[in-house]
Amino acid sequence: MVFKLNNHLLSRIASSNGHGEDSPYFEGWKAYDSNPHHPMENPNGIIQMGLAENQLSFDLIQDWLKNNPKASICTPEGVNEFREIAIFQDYHGLPEFRNAVAKFMAKVRGNKVTFDPDRVVMNGGATGAHETIAFCLADPGEAFLVPTPYYPGFDRDLRWRTGVKLIPVDSESSNNFKVTREALENAYEMAKLNNIKVKGLLITNPSNPLGTMLDRETLRSIVRFINEKNIHLVCDEIYAATVFSQPEFISIAEIVQEDIECNLNLVHIVYSLSKDMGFPGLRVGIIYSYNDAVVSCARKMSSFGLVSSQTQYMIASMLSDDEFVGKFIRESKTRMAARHRVFTDGLAQASIKCLETSNAGLFLWMDLRGLLKEKTFEAEMALWRVIIHEVKLNVSPGCSFHCTEPGWFRVCIANMDDQTMEVALSRIRTFVNKDVDTKKPKRTLRWQGSLKLSSPRIYDDFINSPHSPLPQSPLVLARN
């Protein structure tokens, strides 16, 4: 008997495109996967520069793990702890894990603030943390304000299953994409006019894709804004330890500590070990909330994404090693700074500027406005296609981050070795020089389909570890 597949049998979520994979940007990933760069096997393949992963200091972690076999309970040295850990699934998490995370978070912020381990709630990666916080703070139909440009994953993580809306708060290159009070007010008013209830403001600090930090004045202004409107503030500080040069990172925790008039019930931090430690496969996401109800609610929801107890135990051991943590943070910053310098210098040689104020993150915000045929997003997409198919780099176009000005691209620089980085830079140089010589690219790439500014997604960070390939795709690994 042949059964016709009844698609109406599935949920609305099943038939929606809330997953974001239908966007044209999928093309970039498809292109990469079908032709991944490998120094030996496939030197002409596409280089992955759309994945914001931190591979620079993974060796330090590997070394520590090798030297501390007890930390992983699945070793002969660690086996004594095995049964208690293997059976543990309390959603409060191992106390030593929460303690270690609270300590680490403080260290990353220069010990200028302290964190209460009882407010540390774990989740399935920052992805799970964001979704959970949305479930806790807003009902379907309600909205969060989000300054642009922002990480495309938010469109999916905060909206897909929760039904929550995102309202962009625009920023401009003329003031380095700073978040202004005026823009916040405008977005808030627009929401009101459209009868949308704004429940909170989501900021990412340091910013993805800009790589910039919010200064003290902006943070204070934001805190005043949310208090006045009585809305929540969710601070994604996932890139906190990637700040590699002055000025120092200022966490929202510092601001609310000083500001005695701030209603702490409004403030929540989302964190993860994926970027700072370069270990996304651990799936350690953290919600830190000053609001007891949110802590309680998030904790119960954490059942849907508990961190494995083995991982908790390992992290607790690792992060309690003060010497290692100090060394790691310092070394990681040094390597990040070096990589940043080499890349910005390399780009400068090709007359490509990046956002100057950026001193954090695992990427650069490239200004390619000069290479656009015209100041439109269609031209940006056309240029992007050329970069993927001709220059053979998978970078991320600004419109996928909801940037209001065409011509900006995010390029990830921490997910490859030095050799690959050189190849990427030389390809860029070649392309730019060629483009200077010729008026039009040899192939005209037609833009297919309509460009929806409100819903473009990027496949960036989507196949995140453990589902995602590390810098080399499975095809590449398979060839080894």
Partner: protein
């Protein structure tokens, strides 16, 4: 204050809006009924002596009898006097309806029991008067086997880049250079390690189900535990406001897993002791029709096989009838087979893959599995969705971005699961030990005059203590539960927490005990049993 009970996100049915000022206005329950949404899968709250973190949980009221905190009156504990506990002058702030609901709910007696055990856990040497935990379906009987395997087989920390260090015990057959592997990896868009996990899990499940069917690894989606697996399936198969039919009594965690964030309803299909609590299609039909009359769209049936808390295995005929029913009504079947490996009685366990033959539309069948029970590793967070429906698999896979398996855990599991000889021994020994404990425990209860349903699987028995309850009803049942907890100092799960329609039934888990603990348990229960009998 700004709670929005009428907002669209509310999981209440229309017309039954909760009154934010009445903490007990939860329309589907009386104040006494245990609220199951709070119950954590496996009902763990610092079960072991080393973890007593639950006492520090903010905002959980310590006593069950006080009314739940109204959001406007959330009080701060004294430990929060510092920076962390300032309430701003603008007053309390609103969170989502879901969050308000969770915060307002009464503590279920079940949760209270776990909390009490964690504060005063029994230890033969160090705390012989402590509370004995019988409310947790955890299996501690076979750790020695796993530990022995690890000492013999694990050479190093097993953390490395994708694809490395996987040459232990038979994985050699799965080297990444295998062309077929390459295709699969690209086609399924998974990493090499994850593919190995899928293959290993498919093999393990097949072994657990007595190798009657071989399972296809590409039909597996891995999640961080069975808890998110169920939630993900609900998001795939149903919309907010739809419902699943579920036979009672059922695992209390389903109330949270299915309902908490999806807005999907659970409609109980009551089973009775006269039928040994086995599901009848007539009851299914009735429940389905009643739902229709109410205007609720039923999207599927959620069954557990082996069942929890009763421990039945569904006969072949019943499974067949359920499949026919689902086909007729054009709905899905979710079958939770997480206890499949714990079948200790001779009867044959028939799993879904076995019974699905050509005459059925497989697209509507989805299986939940995990390593928490059969491999005794709940902490590792490994859950499985096994589905025949390509669309569901694709969607579920995307949704696992919110609940994915931790990388370090995968490597150990891959090598352990691939050691099929070890797994064979493990499954066999595990069943033997469970059976031994089961016999001893049920016998012990029998001698107290307490009968149990004749179960074939699971870590628990389903005991009829209705003769011991003073008033035949939920209140009487909870009074007995309270006595058992506070006087006998034994924590069991009352049937009302499992939505059982007949009062007086209790689930007692015995796999956290050693054989010599059983007489201690029985002595304590006897104390209460005798008092109850003399009162009635």
């Amino acid at each position: 204050m700004n709670i929005h009970p009428n907002s669209k996100g509310s999981i209440f049915r229309r017309g039954n809006q909760p009154n934010p000022h009445d903490p007990t206005s939860n329309t589907r329950r009386t104040t006494h009924q245990p609220d199951s949404t709070k119950i954590h899968r496996n009902e763990t709250h610092s079960a072991t002596t080393r973890h007593s973190s639950s006492s520090n949980t903010p905002s959980n009221p310590p006593s069950p009898s006080s009314s739940s905190p109204n959001l406007a009156e959330l009080s701060r504990t004294s430990s929060r006097l510092s920076l962390f506990s300032r309430v701003g002058s603008s007053g309390p702030v609103s969170v989502s309806s879901r969050a308000s609901l969770i915060v307002r709910e009464n503590d279920s007696p079940y949760y209270i029991g776990l909390e009490k055990v964690s504060k005063d856990p029994y230890d033969k040497e160090r705390n012989p008067d402590g509370i004995i935990q019988l409310g947790l379906s955890e299996n501690r009987l076979c750790f020695d086997l796993i530990e022995k395997w690890m000492v013999e087989n694990v050479r190093e920390a097993m953390v490395g880049r994708d694809g490395e260090h996987l040459s232990i015990n038979g994985i050699a057959a799965y080297q990444p250079s295998d062309g077929l592997m390459e295709l699969k990896v690209v086609k399924l868009r998974v990493s090499v390690t994850l593919l190995f996990m899928m293959i290993a899990l498919a093999g393990f499940m097949s072994q657990v189900m007595r190798k009657v069917v071989s399972l296809d690894p590409s039909q597996i989606v891995l999640t961080a535990g069975a808890t998110p697996a169920i939630e993900i399936l609900c998001f795939c198969l149903a919309d907010h406001g739809n419902a699943f039919l579920i036979p009672t009594p059922y695992y209390p965690g389903f109330d949270r897993d299915v309902r908490l964030r999806t807005g999907v309803e659970l409609i109980p299909v009551h089973c009775r002791s006269a039928d040994n609590f086995l599901l009848s299609v007539t009851a299914l039909e009735q429940a389905y029709n009643q739902a229709r009359k109410r205007g609720v769209k039923v999207r599927g049936i959620l069954i557990s096989n082996p069942s929890n808390p009763v421990g039945n295995i569904l006969p072949r005929e019943t499974l067949h009838n359920i499949l026919v029913f689902a086909q007729e009504k054009n709905i899905h079947i979710i079958c939770d087979e997480i206890f499949a490996g714990s079948v200790y009685r001779g009867e044959e366990f028939v799993s879904m893959p076995e019974i699905l033959v050509e005459e059925f539309d497989k697209n509507r069948v989805h299986i939940i599995y995990g390593l928490s029970k059969d491999l005794c590793l709940p902490g590792f967070r490994v859950g499985v969705i096994y589905s025949y429906n390509k669309n569901v698999l694709a969607l579920a896979k995307r949704l696992t971005r919110f609940s994915s398996i931790s990388a370090p855990s995968q490597r150990l599991l891959i090598s352990m699961l691939s050691d099929t000889k070890f797994i064979e021994e493990f499954i066999k020994t595990n069943k033997q030990r469970i059976q031994k404990l089961h016999h001893s425990f049920v016998d012990g209860l029998k001698q107290l005059g307490i009968q149990c349903i004749e179960s074939s699987a699971g870590f628990y028995c389903w005991a009829n203590m209705s003769e011991l309850i003073s008033s035949y009803g939920e209140k009487g049942e909870l009074d007995l539960w309270d006595k058992l907890l506070n006087i006998a100092k034994v924590n069991v799960t009352p049937g009302s927490a499992c939505h059982c329609i007949e009062p007086g039934w209790f689930r007692c888990c015995f796999t956290t005990l050693a054989l010599e603990d059983i007489p201690v348990v029985m002595k304590r229960i006897r104390k209460v049993a005798e008092t109850c009998k003399s009162l009635s």
